[in-house]
Symmetry: C2
Subunit: 593 residues, 2 copies
């Protein structure tokens, strides 16, 4: 029905006849002539309809915004002075010969150009209108290209695309599962997978050697800022490999993806231990675009006459860390108050600071509510952080995890607020994760999942589990975890040891993932893998500010779809078929009983 997309029209087509199909983006009447900006997925071009072409003019005259038209006409250069060099098609226009109205359109609930003026709720309800915005089309096109590029790379590397079930059994990721009542097995439920983890390991046991899948995963969590109940994972697993193999191939994948899709040459990814990342950046996903680092000052603070600092400095699980910001002495009192409130979100009880106005003047040259307590160590402190006139030093002093979270977050916030970025893209690998983390009660839980291989023997693991390292690795870009994975346990004895340390008894283990434990005894190869969050990768690559911008039909924070009104009521008969009833007397319940 068309010869070209609107966005393809340009000077090379002058004097040629073209036919396009698309939407009326804008209509202007000027000097008795109708100007139509026609839009399709490739762009916008200008069409001129003259009253001489009687039928075409009559049809164009009917057309309102978002009408669907098919127009045939001749491409010509725009008259001097009317060119628009900002538009790819801005040098030409099309003189219409035929205008056909393919469909009319009611006035849309909002104008595309004015989408910022309506709430996101209105746009989500009329998602099919909101998706018409060139910006949205571009983001989802890029998503399509990213998926395709990743697939092409993995295929070429010998990875097989294998689908794993969506109706399955609860997986051990630990988040809340979405459940699906079974009609044929009354009282029993499927779970939607939180990841294909167990299945991909079974595929390795089966000998598929290299597997990948772009897979939907599901978590019924209270949705924090930027999560979705269903999300997409680039899931990868390989056999007979070690850390360097899988990190190598996936790093190459991401580097070529950025090269081909964004024309960005990423540097080689440095590797940083988890311990270093926490010490220097207070985060296991440090944003290395920001040239700020946490400095340990525990030793200096042990004897200061300021309990807020000396307490954590002397406690086993405490930490006192300084964060120097060059030129930060110009921060206003109001800004500092805001940062104090901000670190409070992460549990910090306050935010101490020192402004270095004139170091030469000694303590007189400093401005700070706390400096009076640290007279005797102040010069050591300023030397330690290499403070210069005009700097500010922030402090965190608390349990180490609170300091890391709060000052780590402050570091990222300052990087954004003060525009400190030194690079556009700062990738790295974080390695040498601890095998376990402890909750308050000292109970161990897996930092990743219970199938992650430790970097030691079962005996060494048993002897000192709290300090054992795992063979896990995370790929981090600009402070976002792009993907994570590990070498898995392929040895039954090791798997039993880990489950024992986690306090998962034989019966519970058999009940939860007995099929994997069974499989391990029938000849499991050494294997490992990685999973990338596709939504987050696309967000970074498109510069989107929310995950909802890179998902065609997203859910709200209460896990609802405003367009389809899902979830929704079901009939009494459906519930009966599924052998369930509602617990509370809700609307539906009344018709059930």
């Amino acid at each position: 029905m068309r010869s070209h997309y609107c966005g393809q029209l340009n000077e090379t087509l002058v004097d040629q006849t073209v036919t396009v199909c698309g939407w009326v983006h804008r209509r202007r009447d000027h000097g008795g002539v109708i100007f139509l900006d026609m839009r399709d997925r490739d762009g916008i071009a200008q069409f001129v309809v003259d009253p001489d072409t009687v039928d075409a003019f009559a049809n164009a005259d009917r057309a309102r915004g978002e009408y669907v038209l098919r127009i045939t006409g001749n491409v010509r250069l725009r008259p001097d002075g009317t060119q628009n060099p900002d538009m790819p098609t801005g040098m030409i226009e099309v003189l219409a010969k035929d205008v056909e109205v393919l469909n009319t359109a009611a006035t849309p609930p909002f104008q595309l150009d004015d989408h910022g003026k309506v709430g996101e709720e209105v746009r989500l309800k009329h998602r099919y209108v909101d998706l018409r915005r060139p910006d949205m089309i571009q983001k989802l096109r890029l998503r399509s290209r990213i998926s395709h590029n990743v697939r092409a790379f993995l295929e070429q590397e010998g990875f097989l695309d294998i689908e794993t079930p969506v109706l399955t059994r609860a997986t051990p990721e630990g988040a809340r599962d979405y459940l699906v009542p079974s009609r044929t097995h009354p009282g029993e439920f499927f779970a939607l997978p939180q990841s294909p983890q167990l299945f991909k390991q079974l595929l390795m046991v089966a000998g598929f050697d290299r597997y990948y899948q772009i897979a939907k995963c599901f978590r019924d969590e209270d949705l924090r800022a930027d999560r979705q109940p269903e999300f997409t994972q680039i899931d990868i697993e390989a056999s007979f490999i070690e850390e360097d193999d899988i990190m190598g191939v996936t790093e190459t994948m991401i580097r070529q993806l950025f090269g081909e899709v964004l024309d960005v040459a990423l540097p080689e990814f440095p590797r940083m231990t988890w311990h270093d990342a926490m010490q220097r950046f207070g985060s296991d996903k440090p944003d290395l675009r920001i040239p700020l680092e946490l400095t340990d000052v525990d030793d200096l603070m042990k004897d200061v006459n300021f309990k807020v600092f000396s307490g954590p400095a002397n406690a086993d699980d405490g930490r006192v860390a300084a964060l120097k910001v060059s030129g930060g002495a110009s921060l206003s009192r109001k800004a500092i108050d805001e940062y104090t409130r901000f670190v409070g979100i992460y549990g910090a009880k306050g935010l101490a600071w020192i402004k270095v106005n004139e170091r030469a003047k000694g303590i007189e040259g400093l401005q700070s509510p706390i400096v009076k307590f640290m007279d005797n160590i102040i010069e050591d402190l300023l030397d330690r952080v290499d403070a210069k006139d005009g700097d500010i030093i922030f402090f965190g002093a608390d349990k180490a995890n609170i300091v890391n979270e709060a000052i780590g977050a402050l570091r990222v916030r300052l990087g954004a607020d003060l525009e400190l970025y030194t690079h556009d893209w700062a990738p790295l690998w974080v390695v040498d994760f601890p095998m376990f983390e402890t909750d308050g009660s000292g109970r161990l839980s897996p930092l990743h999942h219970p199938f992650t291989a430790p970097a030691c023997t079962p005996e060494e693991l048993k002897a000192d589990p709290a300090n054992a390292l795992s063979r896990a690795y995370d790929m981090v870009l600009n402070g976002t975890e792009l993907g994570g994975g590990s070498i898995r346990i392929h040895d039954q004895a090791m798997q039993s040891t880990v489950l024992e340390i986690l306090g998962i008894g034989a019966e519970e283990a058999q009940e939860k993932f007995g099929f994997l434990l069974d499989a391990l005894q029938y000849g499991a190869p050494p294997h490992g893998g990685l999973a990338f969050g596709l939504d987050r990768l696309v967000m970074l690559m498109t510069g989107a500010t929310t995950i909802r911008e890179v998902i065609a039909f997203p859910k709200t924070q209460s896990a609802a779809c405003l367009m389809t009104n899902a979830p929704s009521d079901v009939t009494a008969e459906q519930l009966k078929d599924l052998n369930i009833r509602l617990r509370q007397k809700a609307k539906v319940e009344e018709t059930v009983e």
Copy 2:
């Protein structure tokens, strides 16, 4: 960890050192030497371990079937007389220098070569073992290639890969939905999609122009012979197109797929109207490999003195059809009895037949229980079906739909039993479907779905809905529906007319798919599409006999996974979170209350 896959080893590598990783497929001890057939996803190769290589020999000696080994050694030609030309690696063997046991293996629940001896239940429970069979690996590799090939083609044609939601609202396909209770909206449920139909239409309204997705779909149906509760669809939709456009691009897709993956050049697909297909083959998915056709004989049978025939011949909804099988007169009485039973499955009350022994002898030369009733028309009948000596003619006489189903199925059965196939591959398009079908009570329901465009105006449709044709098309291969689709309704008035004819009131329509009806008013482009069943396509292309052979982790006919034991019990707390309780007092319920 390896230099080659086992299947890659061949004569070109003689005298080179190679390292492979894999599973012990078979072990033989012969003349003090150990022979190991090592298996990986690419194939099987023979390794020889000599007692001279002390460590290697000791490790090889420990190895049992399915142990995981890493072996390094030198490739050499096998001695004369020990070559195996049936194996791709059969001309060479590897003299092992190093043998490393990467993992041990318990005796598997069944030997791969003996999988036929255990029930499918055992193999499904230990699916990771069953998947090791080279035949299974091959099928899933081919599936991966097929998906990849389809994606590459569609990308190149400008189709965008866009993901649609899995947690969504009940769709109007009409099968039973899988439901997912919402925790955040108590008493409400998501439905898993039976297809992305509505979403892909909305993507067209949004202007994405060309969409595809390889999407998981779900139906909670009583599983007939070869269905799965979750299945995979190659889903395609495009805007500003007509039937020929979308049929053209998808036919090209399938033809190039067969060419590239199977090296099969499919012929151009002929087109056949639904009416012709039913008349000539009794089926809307005729298997054109079989050179048998149904012949209408209603006119001849109107006045015969045999109510079984004359009744349907004179009834409006009746049909009398003949099916001539050349050379079929040699069928035994027992065979005919079996076919009589067989057509009974489809509702036929009997199976009349005439054996043509010697046409020259007239009625004397025929053998048949019914020929006595049709003395006066017998020559016309024999001429009509071009009967020759040695043929058999079967008859169906009943309501037309019963005749079509029964004799259509008999035709397919005879084609298989008598090996009548004239081609390996017989593709076609079936077009000009009726818009609606009637149930017994005369109520109309959509043959496809209520968004299928009719091939006439709203006025014409209203005037005679029962005889209206739709703009739907099915792609059929070897008697299997590979895919189907249609041009959709993009016009509100037409959509209202169709819903009205279907007796779907405005309120019900708004409740069920109001968002689509809303979308149609904001400038919907003309659009249409198609969906292929990927599982079935892979089945055909791999020659699999059940759908379970082309799915890595399939479900049983009662929709259960024997490996993971899904579905399974859940905890009282989980049910409470979801605001539901079990209806019957099942195991779980006792712990709930």
